[in-house]
Amino acid sequence: MCAPWLKRLRAAPANKRNWIFPIASSKMSVELENAPPKELGDQHLRWMMQQMLSARVFSQRVFNLQRQGRAGTNAPVDGSEALLAGTSLALDPTTDWILPQYRELVGLERFGPDVLNRYVLYVLGHPDGGHIPEPTRVWPPQISLATQVPHAVGLAWGMKLQGQKGCVLVYLGDGSSSEGDFYEACNFAGVLDAPVIIVVVNNGWAISTPVSSQTRAKNFAEKSHAFGIPGVSVDGTDPVAVFEATAEARSRAVAGAGPTLIEAVTYRLGPHTTADDPTRYVPEAELAAASERDGISVFRNELIERGVWTDEDEAATLAEADARMEAAVQSGEAHPVAPDDFFNHVYVEPTPRMQRQRTEFWADREARS
């Protein structure tokens, strides 16, 4: 079980918290610079709180869409919101890239509104769900686990070859870290000195498989030894710890010092997906303990205590997120799709055979009506 690690790691970062700055105004909707902050100010703390709350709202509303029969299988992010806020704040959305697994698209608003909009299309089963338009530097969900890690390394390698500044951040799960692709890609990253940050989101579970059945490694940061690259394990429910680790990794990457492996320890507070029944395998006490340490409430309390978060802030954020989601769903459901759309984008030009098939397709549709 991963509970022991969790405890140790939750405890650790507390004394790192030299980031509490004088309390500023508490007005909402902070405008952030594109460049990641060098130091965290109140506005950043507030921004991260907003992000985390919104991500939870988005995640739960997407989940409910499936329950209402309006969307397909999807995987809630609940429990890992701090990770998304902390990592994305530490990146520059105009130069850096994010390659998600499949849970993270609800929490990357810093990279542009299309991330959420397109994710909604994705869960609606619309092919445009895979299309996150330029200039948003986020890739669509990846289902084939860990295959995105070599993609990220290749992208970082390509940026380096062309002397582009910036870096690439890729998420994968604790379970996905058992795939050969993860290891091969990390090893490539090391050899190529690729400006890439590989984030293992250790949420304790891979569907029903606990971390203890996934690996005997002491933690996932330890895996970095296999590649001769730096590795660090952070409390993934603490947005500040995540920000700091990511910021450091990013500095190294853009300075040409190569890749970093970050383990972010979180806990999956919900089911694996809408299709899963975690009561079959998640120990109740473990889940209860993790829920008590829910990053959102811990961080909220911290901010309230410091006087930078109020009930009004909370209500405003929730309302904003709800409205945002409503709009995304509305426009998503109105987004048109052509029945023969799957012939598009396979190649730049469909092959002659596909053209014949398309003709047959329409003849068949016609014959039905």
């Binding site: 379970g175 569907i207 059945s213 012939f343």
Partner: protein, 337 residues
């Protein structure tokens, strides 16, 4: 078989038939070991392995790390150690991660070692469309595996066959790819013998046939058999007598049944869910060309998925062959020349 085998039969879903068979085979032979992602405590993401962990314990029903190549690769070693491995690949699309172990190792273990080591391995994997799964969960890859000598490819279309073919697979000394149609798991339901029930490989099943004379034969496998059966029903109402043959196993292939049906009907429709180009339907057509060319009264008609990757949920009903397309293809074939 132990004499405690239950008698009689029972209507079951295909999923239940698979689960029931796994119970019986693990009971029968203690060398059988099940492993894969989430097959243990969770009973599999579709509950195909439900109850086995409790019944046979964590030594024989094992939740592995998430790594398909190692799942397939360790099966080779387990087999050499004298076990009967029944690994699960959670979705057939992720067998791509294990292709080098399945095609390059499992399929050749006996060949490479001159039978010092056999590979009595049954790889179970669900696949197939119509249930709004995410990418790579629905893809029909049987055509890609069929070109790999050393594998047997088994694709049941009924609950009874799921039992009979799975039991045969597990007892077979050669590696078997046992492919389970997602859409059939709960939708396909029929009478399953409760006792010993073995269906031999390489023997097609006649699903629908007019006792007198059929106008056309529809050849299919896995869930497309069900679609073809429905098409035949509809065609019958329109006066077309369509025979339906379920290939059951693609390797070995029952060429005799194919030959006999082509000789009887002279007209053939082959139905597959996979993309058209070099799906297994191509092999069926090539085989008909080899063994029954002179009986053909019209070109064999293929009904296939299109040459595009399996699409997202909103589009899949437009992509997967359905009754309408099969009926139209049959009519065209019957009308030809």
């Amino acid at each position: 078989m132990s004499s405690s085998q239950p008698a009689g039969s029972q209507v079951m879903t295909m999923l239940d038939a698979i689960n029931h068979t796994l119970h019986q085979e693990m009971e029968r032979d203690e060398r059988v070991v099940l492993f894969g992602e989430d097959v243990g405590r969770n009973g599999g993401v579709f509950r195909a392995t439900e109850g086995l962990f409790d019944r046979f314990g964590e030594q024989r029903v094992v939740d592995t790390p998430l790594a398909e190549a190692a799942i397939a690769g360790t099966a080779v070693g387990l087999a050499a150690a004298g076990m009967v491995p029944v690994p699960e690949i959670q979705f057939l699309g992720f067998s791509y991660q294990a292709f080098h172990q399945i095609a390059g190792q499992i399929a050749r273990l006996r060949y490479r070692t001159r039978s010092r080591f056999g590979a009595p391995i049954t790889i179970r994997a669900p696949f197939g469309g119509g249930v709004r799964t995410p990418e790579l969960h629905s893809d029909s890859l049987e055509g890609q595996f069929a070109n790999i000598p050393g594998l047997k490819i088994v694709m049941p279309a009924s609950a009874a066959d799921a039992k009979g073919l799975l039991a045969t697979a597990i007892r077979d000394p050669d590696p078997v790819l046992f492919l389970e149609p997602l859409r059939g798991y709960r939708m396909i339901k029929d009478e399953v013998p409760l006792g010993e029930h073995l269906v031999p490989f390489g023997q097609a099943r006649t699903v629908v046939s007019d006792p007198e004379q059929n106008d056309v034969v529809i050849i299919a496998w896995s869930f497309m058999v069900e679609m073809s059966r429905r098409a035949a029903q509809q065609l019958r109402q329109e006066g077309v007598r369509a025979k339906v043959i379920d290939l059951r196993t693609l390797v070995p292939l029952d060429t005799e049944a194919i030959q006999a049906a082509v000789e009887e009907c002279g007209r053939v429709v082959v139905v597959q869910e996979a993309p058209e180009t070099n799906g297994f339907a191509s092999e069926v057509i090539a085989t008909i060309n080899d063994i029954a060319f002179y009986s053909l009264e019209a070109p064999v008609k293929r009904v296939s998925g299109y040459d595009a990757p399996y699409p997202v949920g909103m589009l899949e009903d437009y992509y997967v062959p359905d009754v309408h397309r099969i009926v139209a293809a049959v009519k065209e074939t019957v009308a030809a020349q």
